[in-house]
């Protein structure tokens, strides 16, 4: 079952020891930035005090051992981890809680639950780690009104690596396996997946596949897609399993109907993943740039060089400060190469030379080069280390910032190198204008999370002063303004956060109407009643 240390209202576990000095520093930075000291943090909600309706349906007798209607489990499955999820939770608003939460033990349980849901008109929301920041695991009012009830289907018991194929270097993994559990089970074999999304600690293999999650690699293996060899998905119409094929060229790529399906087609119960040997050779460094344009030019040259750095994150100066990396005088590119086999120093040198040609000031990491077998960071100078640590702690920090009453959000997209300057200008203008109008002030920063030969994946963070009671309406207005700018400028509404319910309107603008029609038809083929995660990805049937 779901570990009750898990916060039902925000990120991670209640017992996480969030460092008070960091909190104090962020409070001071925010206070200085906006000229007003942040208010005291709102208290975490009490489970007994939240508003949560009685379940509309009762636990079916045949599922008594795997389905619950208990308050904690319903509350903890009401939302993902988006800004607005945390705000609503702090407000005590759990009006759209699922009626029931299921913890299937195996795929057969999943199939039985789908059959029951189809027969009784119950909507099913597949739930991995619940880390969606796009409304991907929530039953909104629109959903609730169309169904007899809502079942959140939590895959956390399907948490095992079932087989390891050492010859082909692949592992068969159950969909509910969390990131750390996956790595722990691979480690005795000398393997690692090395797919490290920011949600790593509290997200699952099935969730990664359903949302096409973005991981640690800045090039080549940017999405989980690149590690998926085959998939297995239970749909209302039965099981869909693809063959283990390294480079199948038969027809439209079969597993692409599963990757990115966001629970709208079925429940991903298993996948064969291409794992990696543990890296033993690393080389890393940082490059500082006086202008973001110089950094972007270096990233473009790197992306088109064929060097394929494992890590290459360009962080705007204001954001670096917030993350505790750098003093704010320069934009920073964190660069890392890794290999299980070959020293990476030459590649790093070539990459740093490329960066210097674009005006960067390069610095090799102290522990770079041909490191031992331990799991040291790929770039271990101070800036890089600090940034990595803060990367994984960021979702906790985000909760704290929400509790202080700020509005904050991230927008991630991708675009061509040629189009980036125009998109960047438009997104910043739309964001600043919306922040000014709705919050009176605000900070917009950018980083590149992933690089492609034809363009970057820019990731924007906004933060603005607000106060409890106004946060949601302000967020709605800002979110809409920036999202429209992304779509109008030729970007995508998501590079790796997924569509969910929050991005659906913009996804519908972005995609070709005919490809949406094809997807809707494909959904009807496996989910004729439309019970699977209704309203997520595609409009309710």
């Amino acid at each position: 079952m779901f570990d009750t240390d898990r916060k039902f209202w925000g990120w991670g576990v209640s017992s996480f020891p969030f460092p008070q000095p960091l909190l104090d520093r962020v409070r001071a930075l925010l206070g200085a930035r906006f000229g007003v000291a942040p208010p005291a943090a709102r208290p975490a909600p009490e489970l007994a005090a939240i508003r949560i309706p009685a379940p509309a349906i009762v636990v079916p007798a045949q599922f008594a051992d795997i389905v619950t209607a208990e308050r904690y489990h319903r509350a903890a499955h009401t939302y993902g981890k988006a800004f607005r999820d945390v705000v609503r939770a702090l407000d005590g608003d759990f009006e759209c809680a699922p009626d029931l939460v299921a913890y299937p033990r195996d795929e057969d349980d999943v199939a039985r639950l789908l059959r029951w849901a189809g027969a009784t008109g119950v909507a099913v929301i597949p739930f991995g780690g619940g880390s969606s920041v796009v409304g991907g695991v929530e039953a909104d009012r629109e959903t609730r009104g169309r169904f007899a009830g809502v079942l959140s289907l939590d895959l956390c018991r399907l948490d095992r690596v079932l087989a390891v194929d050492r010859v082909s270097r692949c592992a068969r993994v159950q969909g509910g396996t969390y990131g750390p559990a996956l790595e722990a089970q691979l480690k005795p074999h000398g393997y690692t997946l090395r797919h490290f999304p920011q949600s790593f600690e509290f997200s699952t293999v099935g969730g990664w596949i359903a949302t096409r999650a973005g991981g640690h690699y800045a090039t080549l293996y940017t999405h989980i897609d690149d590690f998926v060899e085959s998939v297995r998905m239970v749909t209302p119409a039965g099981v869909l399993e693809t063959r283990r094929l390294p480079g199948n060229g038969a027809g439209p790529q079969e597993d692409r109907l599963v990757l990115g399906s966001e629970g709208a087609f079925g429940v991903i119960t298993e996948a064969w993943l291409r794992v990696q040997d543990t890296p033993r050779c690393r080389a890393g460094g940082t490059v500082s740039f006086a202008t973001f344009e110089q950094g972007a030019a270096a990233c473009r040259a790197l992306a088109q060089s064929g060097l394929f750095p494992a890590n290459a994150r360009l962080i705007e100066r204001d954001e670096a400060v917030f993350m505790g990396a750098g003093d704010g005088s320069h934009h920073i590119l964190v660069l890392g190469f890794e290999s299980a086999l070959l020293p990476q120093d030459d590649k790093l040198s070539a990459a740093l030379a490329i960066c210097e040609a674009s005006g960067g000031k390069a610095r090799k990491a102290a522990a770079g080069g041909n490191a031992g077998g331990d799991d040291r960071a790929s770039a271990s100078d101070d800036s890089a280390d600090q940034w990595k640590e803060s990367f994984l702690r960021a979702p906790y920090l985000r909760d704290e910032i929400v509790r202080m009453g700020y509005v904050c959000e991230t927008f991630e997209t991708c675009t061509t190198w040629a189009n980036f300057p125009a998109l960047d200008a438009a997104v910043r203008a739309a964001a600043q204008s919306a922040l000014q109008e709705h919050c009176g002030a605000g900070l917009v920063t950018c980083r590149f999370t992933h690089l492609y030969p034809d363009g970057p994946a820019p990731y924007y963070t906004i933060i603005a002063p607000s106060r409890p009671g106004r946060q949601l309406a302000q967020w709605d207005a800002i979110k809409d303004a920036v999202s429209r700018a992304l779509i109008e400028q030729g970007g995508t509404i998501t590079h790796h956060h997924a569509v969910g319910k929050d991005h659906r309107p913009y996804y519908l603008m972005q995609n070709a109407p005919l490809s949406l029609a094809m997807l809707e038809a494909a959904k009807r083929a496996v989910d004729p009643q439309g019970i699977m995660n209704p309203g997520t990805l595609l409009p309710p049937a």
Copy 2:
């Protein structure tokens, strides 16, 4: 219009000067192999003498300038270039010729033609270079019987590079652009796509995308998929165009509904392709192995090394002899690295060391290393050069072998490294048994065309003595036996040749029934009348 030097019955152009000494050598090899001197080659068919029915429909007045019912054009669009296509053409059998052939000048013509076809119940077969070896451009009897007529829609006039985006290193290319025309138009910009399928000279960008063609790169960029940034397709329901997005993560990947659609959803009129800088640094070599198992082990280690060789083709000893590379004593791995930027010698050395650890005997190419800007072969020692030349000439040679009355065919698949030995044994057993039963003898050889971390793409060639009149029935039996073995052993019916009509039965066995149902539903969404390439990829609606 279609160049009338193009053979209407086989590969390439009539004026190709096929080298007589090579032909003599192959005749001698085949004669020695099967103990009987090959008969004199059958004459090429005369256009005037072939059996081709009168067109069932007349050229519509509104299309008089772009549609023809002339005999040559109908004959040249009756078949692709499969073994059985050439045999039927040599037999003078053009019974299933399209009634009309269209040469649209632009996308608007394409859309008008589709509207007319929908209104009059005419089936439309998109035609790129016509190089299909899987029945992808043919109207079989089943098709003919269901429609008022059949239109072959040849895209050859949409043959331009419309734009080059130097910043993002991309080119907007029309679907009917042939390989050489594409490279010629990119060259002044210093670019190349470097997608070199064996069909390169007589295949098109749109055809590559429709069939997910495999190119020159043995790793990383194995299919055209890896170069496609966005696509534009005209369907009976309208135009589907995807955005230019380097790493879009929104929902199921949109362009994957177009890649591999084999003309069954619509006509690919344009694509933005990721092009490359012309390689200036190359390093190549060959490795010989005493056993194919050693070579396979070396390929596996290479594929899992992260070195990503541009070329890595392991050729079985008997096949190397046929291709004029090697003396038949050893299996040969042709290895090449290339880069526009960085010397590749270190990578080559590392790769050769890996191969030697698997028992190979390595030899660096004389012109390897940091070569100049000319277009030298990636591995330029004798074996490699000879093999490359014969690679591009192979389709011409295949025609000659068919004319001598042999049965020959290729089977290409992919599988995991763990499964390769079992699949290989089963495919060879099925092929040998079928060749023995139906032809009394036969040769089965294998090469690896592409390598993945989790498995190889083995490519089998069979050749057996036969005689005119028996070739088709024998081919049918052998094709079925080997294809079934591929499917039973967990392989795919195609790594890069596509499905067409020939592979459709096995594709239907291989794919999950639910994913086929999703594809069929998706097709109905854009082609409700089922006029697009009926029977190719999916069963006729």
